[in-house]
Structure formats: structure tokens, C-alpha cells
């Protein structure tokens, strides 16, 4: 069991602050690092994997510094975001090479086990340049798991995966966490994070904006005004019916058709909307959240 500790870590590039006074503890189990693009997630993962020196503060794994300490890689597996691999090798050759570089006594057996874990056995003898994005992601996973690391760091691992591969990777991460490994992955999609991670660390504009289990983060995000655009068979009646309900704070008819609506209680609103529509015989044609982009959610979180 291993613990990653960031203590008042900042990192800047000339005048640009990428990470600003972040302190967090990543314990065994699955942790999601959530934040919009450009929030500093990749910088944090680079700091946690010893590929970047903090400008101030310390990053340690079980008390040992990660920067300029190659011995920590005995315990750490890293899945970088960048796609580039050794394209001229087959998947198997690549994972075997990784096993050899870790100095494993039986590199072939370790590679086979790791490849099987990510379900790449059938494609292992194909050259990596022929792999799809999802397959590349899985062979990267296999290479980072080959030495059975206590800590697994993954930068945007779900990018480019199809739904089936996504579910498989989520299962795998959950299993890794349940086995007592310290698993940390970054993502800018809340739904992805909450399906896998028990603990969520939110970063926005380089700052540590929130920390907690997904329920706490979800509540922070949902107990706030939500905006929607509704298109119905009878917008005027629907707007007046909805305005009468306490879950709705405001409604406006749009000149181009449809209703612009602000709900103050998202939970109740999502329950009463279909009920009210049915009771009044109004057909709902479209319900679109207009401010669900994470940026707005994070902006709210930071100001909260």
C-alpha cells in the first residue's frame, strides 16, 4: 500500500502558473483527478510521476521524493496521455521490453499476464502502428502494469475509447483499486470519474478546488441553478405550469421558439418535469441543459 503526498506544491513556467499551492494526499483505492482542459491535471500527473520538478513544495511517495529518483519506478506505473509509442514494435515486443527494463526475472511471462489483463492477447503480435486508439491505450496500460506496481497513474485514459473499451477499463481500474493499489486517473468528464473513483480531487485553473467522495462533489454541482432549453408542443402553457412549481426559478419564452428555464432544485425539477407535462397533455420535444459544460460547473465550484 502506497500513498502519494503533495505538500503546498506550485509549478510555474516562466510567468505562467500551472499548479498553484496544491496539497493533496492520494491513498490506496481509485482517485479521480477532475478538471477542465488546461486546469493543470497533466502537470500534476507529471509532478506525481517524477517527470517534473515542483517549483515550490514537495511531492513524495511513501515519504520518498519522486524527482530525480528513478528507483521509485519500481512502485509506479505511468500511462502518459500522449499517443506516441514504439510504433515499429508489436504489442508483445513492447510490453516484453518494458518488463525487461524493469529487470523482471521472467519478462515474457509477466508481459503475457499483463497483456491478458487488458484483453490484448489476440492482437499482441500485430505492429503497434496498426492499432486503434483504444488498443494503444490498452497496450500502454499493459506496459505500465507489467511490474505489478503499487501506484498507477493514468493521464486521460478514456480519451478515444469506444463505450465497450471504456467499460472494460473502468472495471479494470476498479479491480486495481480494490486490490489495494493507489490508482489515480485524470479526466475532464464528471460522469467518467464518478463511475470509477471513490475519491475525487477537483482542480480548476491550477488550484485544488474541491476534494471528497463523488456524492459530496455531485451535491456541490447540483445544488445550484441549472439552465435548460425546453421545446414542447405548447411552450406558453408549459412555461406557466413550470413557473408554478418551486423547483423552477424563472422561465422565458424565446423568440425563436422554446423556453429558457432556470431550475433551482435540479433533483426535484427532473422528477416534476415529465409529470407536469403528462398531467397537462403537453408533449416534450427537447430538454437541453445549456450550462452543463464543466467550465461553468467549475466556475461555480470555485466561487462557492
Amino acid at each position: 500500500m502506497s500513498t502519494l503526498q503533495l505538500d503546498h506544491v506550485s509549478r510555474w513556467y516562466r510567468n505562467v502558473v500551472a499548479v498553484n499551492d496544491v496539497s493533496m494526499t492520494i491513498r490506496p483505492g481509485v482517485t479521480g483527478l477532475l478538471g477542465p482542459n488546461g486546469a493543470g491535471k497533466s502537470t500534476l500527473i507529471a509532478l506525481m510521476s517524477g517527470f517534473l520538478a515542483p517549483s515550490t513544495g514537495t511531492v513524495t511517495l511513501d515519504g520518498e521524493p519522486l524527482w530525480r529518483n528513478e528507483q521509485v519506478y519500481r512502485k509506479v506505473g505511468l500511462v502518459p496521455e500522449r499517443e506516441a509509442l514504439f510504433d515499429y514494435l508489436t504489442g508483445r515486443q513492447f510490453v516484453v521490453a518494458n518488463a525487461e527494463l524493469h529487470g523482471l526475472p521472467d519478462a515474457d511471462a509477466a508481459a503475457q499476464a499483463s497483456i491478458a489483463l487488458v484483453e490484448m492477447s489476440d492482437a499482441q503480435d500485430r505492429v503497434i502502428s496498426t492499432y486503434s486508439k483504444g488498443m494503444r491505450q490498452r497496450i500502454k496500460m499493459a506496459s505500465s502494469l507489467v511490474h505489478d506496481p503499487a501506484v498507477l497513474l493514468l493521464d486521460e485514459p478514456f480519451n478515444g475509447m469506444d463505450p465497450r473499451q471504456r467499460i472494460h477499463l473502468m472495471d479494470l481500474l476498479r479491480r486495481m483499486g480494490a486490490e489495494g493499489r493507489t490508482v489515480l486517473f485524470s479526466s475532464h468528464i464528471l460522469e467518467e470519474v464518478e463511475q470509477v473513483a471513490r475519491q475525487i480531487e477537483v482542480v480548476v485553473a491550477g488550484r485544488h478546488a474541491a476534494s471528497g467522495d463523488f456524492g459530496a462533489i455531485r451535491r456541490l454541482m447540483t445544488d445550484r441553478p441549472n439552465r435548460f432549453v425546453l421545446r414542447t408542443a405548447d411552450d406558453r402553457t408549459m412555461a406557466s405550469v413550470l413557473l408554478a412549481d418551486p423547483s423552477v426559478r424563472g422561465a422565458r419564452l424565446r423568440s425563436e421558439g422554446g423556453i429558457e428555464l432556470e431550475a433551482s432544485d435540479f433533483g426535484r425539477f427532473s422528477e416534476v418535469l415529465p409529470q407536469l407535462a403528462r398531467d397537462h397533455g403537453i408533449r416534450l420535444l427537447e430538454v437541453t441543459p445549456t450550462d452543463e459544460s464543466l467550465e461553468s460547473v467549475f466556475a461555480y465550484l470555485v466561487s462557492a
Partner: protein
């Protein structure tokens, strides 16, 4: 791992050099050298000066640094450019082992595609004087190793290692080395020339440069370049696309 060389990195390095288009150039360059040597031999005949000019002007000044540049940047630069070097660095291996292993590949290329062709070209040009070819082969190997160390350091310092390497080759070693006499003290090609002068008694490529100085300077560049490259790689910043 305590061994200074990792067979896995050597294997990957060989695949990296010959798995790309630039690998073909490594085969073409020696062919040009030997081809030109044959042409000179046919046109000029057995002439020591013509032989020496060909081996020095084309071989030592052009082919040797080019082979070293292609081989060294071939094992290092693409992985640094695309970030795949992270897979080598995220391992409990000394950074110096990584650099030495990669330089073993580059040095082997220098031996095969520069030093051996120089020996062959030397024999073609002066079959009755094998010392000439041997001297140029030895000088090429020494100079090639120094070039490899310089280009390795360039590869970890700049993303434009090939361009910077070519500029260094053409301006410093080629142009200024020919124009300014004092450059010989800081020129890999001139050091190699001094070593060749020592082995082959009949020719005199570089004036006023002691063999001992040339050998010591070459060794210092090889050792310091390798060590500094490893040190630079130890502090390698790998940041994401953010």
C-alpha cells in the same frame, strides 16, 4: 540494474535507427564514399595526395559527422520529440545507462558506416599502402565517437538537434575550421586529423596539433558529452499537452 549498458535499450535503439527512412541514408553515405574513391582511383591513378584529399575532404569532413548525426539523433531525438522516451525513463534504470546504451548503437553505426568504409576507400585508393586506410579508419572512429557524444547532448538540449548539428558541422567544423587556424584546438575533425597523421607517416593533415592533445580532447568530449547527456536526461521534464 547496475550494468552500464542495457541490451533492451540497445535492441530498441537498433530498431529505431533502421526502422525509419533516415536509416537508408546510413547505407547510402558509405556507398558514395567508396564509389567516389573508385572514381578517383580510375581517373587519377595511384596518387597519395588525391587519396588523402578524398578521404579527408569527403570522408572525415562530411561522411563521418553525417553518419554520427544520423545515428545519434536517430536513437534519441524521435523519442524525445514524441514523448515515447517516457517509457524508458519511467524505469528504475540509471539515466547514464540509457545514454550509454544508445551511444553504443550510434558508435556501432559509426564503426560500420564510417570507419569500415574509410578503410575500404583507403584500400581502393592506395592498395599498396594499407596504413593510409587504417589511419583514416581509426581517426574516423575517434572523431565519430566524439561527434556522437556532441550530438547526443544536442538531442537532449534542443528539439532541433538535426538542424543545429548540421549548422555546427558546416559552419564550425567545415567553414571556420578551414578558414581559421585556431579552430583546430576546438575541432573534432582536426583532432581526428591529428590522430590520422600520427598513424600514417606520409601525410600531414593538421599542422601544429599534438597527438596527445588530440586524443585527450577527444576522450574528454566523449566522456563529458555522455555524462552531461545523462545528467540532462535525469532532469527531463515531460509535460502533457496542456
Amino acid at each position: 540494474m547496475t550494468s552500464p549498458v542495457s541490451p533492451t535499450i540497445v535492441r530498441l535503439g537498433v530498431r529505431s535507427v533502421f526502422g525509419r527512412r533516415r536509416g537508408i541514408l546510413l547505407f547510402l553515405l558509405p556507398l558514395v564514399l567508396v564509389g567516389l574513391a573508385v572514381l578517383v582511383r580510375v581517373l587519377v591513378g595511384d596518387d597519395l595526395e588525391a587519396a588523402s584529399d578524398t578521404l579527408y575532404g569527403l570522408g572525415l569532413v562530411v561522411i563521418v559527422p553525417l553518419v554520427a548525426l544520423l545515428a545519434t539523433t536517430g536513437v534519441l531525438a524521435p523519442e524525445i520529440d514524441d514523448g515515447s522516451i517516457a517509457y524508458l525513463l519511467a524505469k528504475p534504470i540509471s539515466r547514464h545507462t540509457i545514454v550509454v546504451s544508445k551511444l553504443v548503437v550510434a558508435a556501432s553505426c559509426v564503426l560500420l558506416f564510417a570507419a569500415v568504409p574509410m578503410l575500404i576507400a583507403g584500400l581502393v585508393l592506395a592498395l599498396d599502402d594499407p596504413q593510409l586506410g587504417a589511419g583514416f579508419a581509426l581517426g574516423s572512429l575517434a572523431g565519430g565517437l566524439a561527434y556522437c557524444a556532441v550530438f547526443a547532448l544536442l538531442s537532449v538540449m534542443t528539439r532541433h538537434a538535426v538542424v543545429v548539428g548540421l549548422i555546427y558541422m558546416l559552419i564550425w567544423e567545415g567553414l571556420l575550421g578551414g578558414l581559421l587556424d585556431g579552430v583546430r584546438w576546438l575541432s573534432v575533425t582536426r583532432w581526428a586529423g591529428a590522430i590520422i597523421d600520427q598513424v600514417t607517416a606520409e601525410i600531414n593533415l593538421v599542422e601544429g596539433l599534438g597527438t596527445v592533445y588530440a586524443v585527450v580532447a577527444t576522450v574528454i568530449v566523449v566522456v563529458a558529452g555522455t555524462w552531461l547527456t545523462g545528467r540532462k536526461l535525469r532532469a527531463f521534464n515531460l509535460t502533457g499537452d496542456e
